[in-house]
Symmetry: D2
Subunit: 334 residues, 4 copies
């Protein structure tokens, strides 16, 4: 029977709206997303290029900004309404992590900026611009914002983001308590400490994941993920990645956690990008009991079938720690 | 830019919990779901058999009840909390469509019963029983409530329901205004009348659809739908349906509306059952503008590619109208 | 038990080497194959463009030649050896259908030319040129002659050809008796006459099909077919065809005959092109008993599941008959 | 241009007809093939059970025989005619490896038995029994010998066999020179020695593979392989294997060599079984130049994408060498 529910769920944060990544090789990074993943360029401004997948409705879901090192620029979440935005801002102002309002950017209006406990730059926003297809790109499939691109193996939409944090539980609690994320799955160490956590505000099994960072660094990015919806496209893209000299770190394979069909590649700027083959499973239960993976069960959680993950998977994040940069310079991680 | 939003969205109804269908041939209907679709029997009681798909978490998602004619027994939706249930009951009591509380059934506690404007039996509930796998059926994939069955081409979970209604707009407005459903797509006639509407409370492009019923009958069922997540399984199941003498009405094919990969079959009791091949597209935008299909664009909305729909698709619903029953008796619809 | 075998099989004809199609809109036809199907241009000469799919090993598998009307230019088959070529030439010279040797063309040496009974231009050859990838297109997948293209939904290789003939049996007997093709499946009318026949010299269920032509014309082409090997690519290409204004005549769907996952489109020059989603079934039995489809069983042979075939499927071939050209001019076939 | 061809190809051996494997746990082995792979039992006799996949046309393609140790019983190839069988027998009699005629077995008539150079038991035959479906199993899909089973994730047909041999070149030369197999791909060591070879008599990239055996043992089996034709079924079966406690040694993944989508499991009797997800690529060229993989290119040949192969893949074969049996007893290989 259903357990007692102490309080009602919060539905204020609704959707991962866009991600900004930093790249020391912005031209190559942009070419990777456009030529190989079929993404569309919406705009260029300053040191940034704005991109979207062909079923992304907003102005952009990816902003690539030139920087000395790869890493996360910022994350943006759209709220479920203007009032919901205002409610969350009031809560965030009480956490000491709020930074205040920005006037917006290409593609959206005012956004409230704050920091995660681990130091990732995040913003909440309501006011967005919808991308308008020029006539030659309009599809007779009216629920698709543009025609399927003829370039590369085109991704369909932004799916999720995976962040590193020194203290997984601290960051997880922040996302859950201040922003209303629901914990879907987590890995728990023998001492009870959390090693990783997957959370969402929708039936997707995760829109954000937090993984433990032992590097002593802050605010690092593990990966961003775009969605295909069909495992065949991972196989198609694997051909492309192998033949176009892009490093496939792992996959195609299937995680037990989230049941996600995955492939991980390193884009030319150094950031890890996941491609998601299908939808995994959907969590429609409003009273979901988080799945707890422990030492005894974890192997099947990490990999349900197919490709193993290399040891670097759990260490490599952007910006890189010195040691890994040295390894990379030596060609060990290529 | 984002338009003015008059009021905040309602998040009280959360999930299609289960469906009851009526069958004049209950043994054959149950065999269809168990032997061909790999569903599991949870319980039997009176004239009813309770079934679930292998990734359904609750006691059951389908109740098959013996009756003289096929059709819908009732629909059940789970709310997002006990408080949400109480809020919706207060609203429903004001509509004149409320019927009051039932004590529950196998698999769930108290449920508030009401009628849709067109006369479908519906209930809202919060208190549910989770199905517990016996040890030999527990999967090492902890986010799966049981092992994948070795029988048939097993479906993964209940997806949606499609109802007929004499006045589409009246029923659509009821679901939206009283229960918080969001309109995702609709077909609009040249005179502005709505011919069909697809709605959801989650990013699924629909959990309920309403299609116009010109038969003069009330409370009819167009179809229930179970989900695979992979188009290959529609092809596998088409083999099975052809070889086991089950009528395939249409498909596999792809709708433009909802982008759903579909196959429609008629179960032995006479109800239409859809099998859903992939997830279609997901609506993550909290401020979605409904997709409007009209005479000019509709052909691609009905069928994006593959199998056409026969004329009967728009007429056949359960219980059958007299004329169709005569046609069926004459073998015309076989 | 195995039946008595009157004589040994002939293994002299080995492979469909290339096809020449005629197009009144050669630029648009070539763009169709290059931009949408990802084919590569090998050469241009006179009024012809030479193309190949990315897993085709020879200089070309398709020659597009400008002409007033669409249709078949010629077909070429490679023999299993130089001696096999000479043996077949001796046989063909005795049929009265031989035309003599050509000096060859771009991509191959001397070829022996002849006519099918219905008047299709055919040649046999042994001496071929292999296409050599420039360094930037060489794949680390050594059994692939070049990298997977980044353009369109790229086809992998030429699969088969389907011809119309006034007398199916006459043409079928010619291919079997003079050239060693094995009959795999056929449709037989109630009066015993053959309506269509599928033949091959390899385990592919067909490399050539003959369908009855009631137009009074000769030497017509029903379609050529390129191969994907994965049904997902038919779905991908259907998106592209719909959005790029190419007529999809039928599919995706699955034939019972050959078990082929099919999609048929009309290229801008007017010729029908099939895309083949998977391999269907393979015929490895050296003593195969042809599958006989008759009135009672034929519906499932034509379509096993999914998309129906329109009536035009059985009439439309290139060059067009007058009546169809008038229909087309009137937009009826668009 | 085409090179000089010294002699004509031999087309006498046509098809892998069946394989006999030995099992110390025959009941569990048979249950594995029937319950999980959906194979059908044709007959039982003595210590043997005869099985076939649902698109295998002959009486059986697999014979499971009780024995103290796992391994290969024998392999059988069907010739292209009775005359072809007699030609090959004359050749084999001259090799010193011939053993003479057997009277046949359930499912086939007289067979000529011989030994491969490494000691595998092989037979050639022409006279076979076709399996006859009982009426309730006959499919309206006339090119399928029976309905698709409703049990497990059913395999479609026998695909190939992979044998170990002390001297790869010796065995490869035997299959090529005495029996007409064509070399499709091979791995060549820096010293020029062959490490493995893939051969076929049809466009399948291999029907037999030979891998180097450093154990000092003879006549060992690396694996047998059944075919699905669709990668989704490997994913489905991986679920089943994980949940039914069958060891997945590797996969799903894609080999570069043969482009095969693979999964390797160990059946309860200890023999390795491969499941083949799609057709890979087809070799239609009658004058194929073997693909040569060397130290520099081999990594991509072994694995093109997805699952890695464990070190045991290259050591484990049946019957097991002492050392591996000890490792297994210690649980190291579980």
């Amino acid at each position: 029977m259903t357990q007692q529910q102490p309080q009602e769920p919060i539905f204020d944060v609704h959707q991962l709206a866009h991600v900004e990544i930093l790249s020391p090789k912005p031209d190559e990074t942009v070419r990777f997303f456009k030529d190989l993943l079929g993404m569309q360029e919406s705009a260029r401004s300053g040191q940034s290029v704005y991109l979207r997948a062909y079923e992304d409705w907003y102005h952009h879901t990816l902003k690539v900004t030139e920087a000395k090192k790869p890493g996360l620029g910022h994350l943006a979440w759209r709220t479920s309404s203007q009032a919901a935005l205002e409610r969350r801002v009031r809560v965030l102002e009480g956490t000491g992590l709020g930074k205040g309002w920005s006037e917006g950017d290409l593609g959206h209006g005012a956004a409230y900026q704050f920091s995660s406990p681990d130091g990732h730059n995040v913003e909440l926003l309501w006011d967005v611009d919808y991308w308008q297809a020029p006539p030659e790109l309009r599809s007779p499939l009216l629920n698709r914002p543009q025609k399927r691109p003829l370039q590369g193996v085109p991704v369909r939409r932004l799916d999720h983001v995976n962040l590193m944090a020194a203290n997984v539980t601290t960051d997880k609690d922040f996302w859950m308590e201040q922003l209303g994320f629901r914990l879907r799955e987590h890995i728990v160490a023998p001492d009870g400490g959390e090693i990783a956590a997957w959370m969402s505000v929708s039936p997707l099994a995760h829109e954000i994941a937090i993984m433990g960072d032992q590097s002593g660094m802050q605010g690092r990015l593990h990966h961003i993920c775009y969605w295909y919806g069909s495992p065949q496209h991972l196989s198609d893209l694997a051909d492309v990645m192998r033949e176009q000299d892009i490093t496939i770190e792992a996959g195609p394979g299937k995680h037990g956690i989230t049941q996600g069909m995955f492939m991980y590649v390193i884009e030319p700027g150094g950031n890890r990008v996941e491609l998601f083959g299908d939808t995994g499973y959907m969590i429609l239960d409003p009273d979901w009991k988080p799945i707890r993976w422990t030492e005894e069960t974890l192997a099947r959680g990490i990999i349900w079938h197919g490709s193993d993950l290399p040891a670097e998977f759990f260490l490599y994040a952007t910006p890189l720690i010195e040691k890994v940069e040295e390894l990379e310079a030596a060609g060990v991680l290529d």
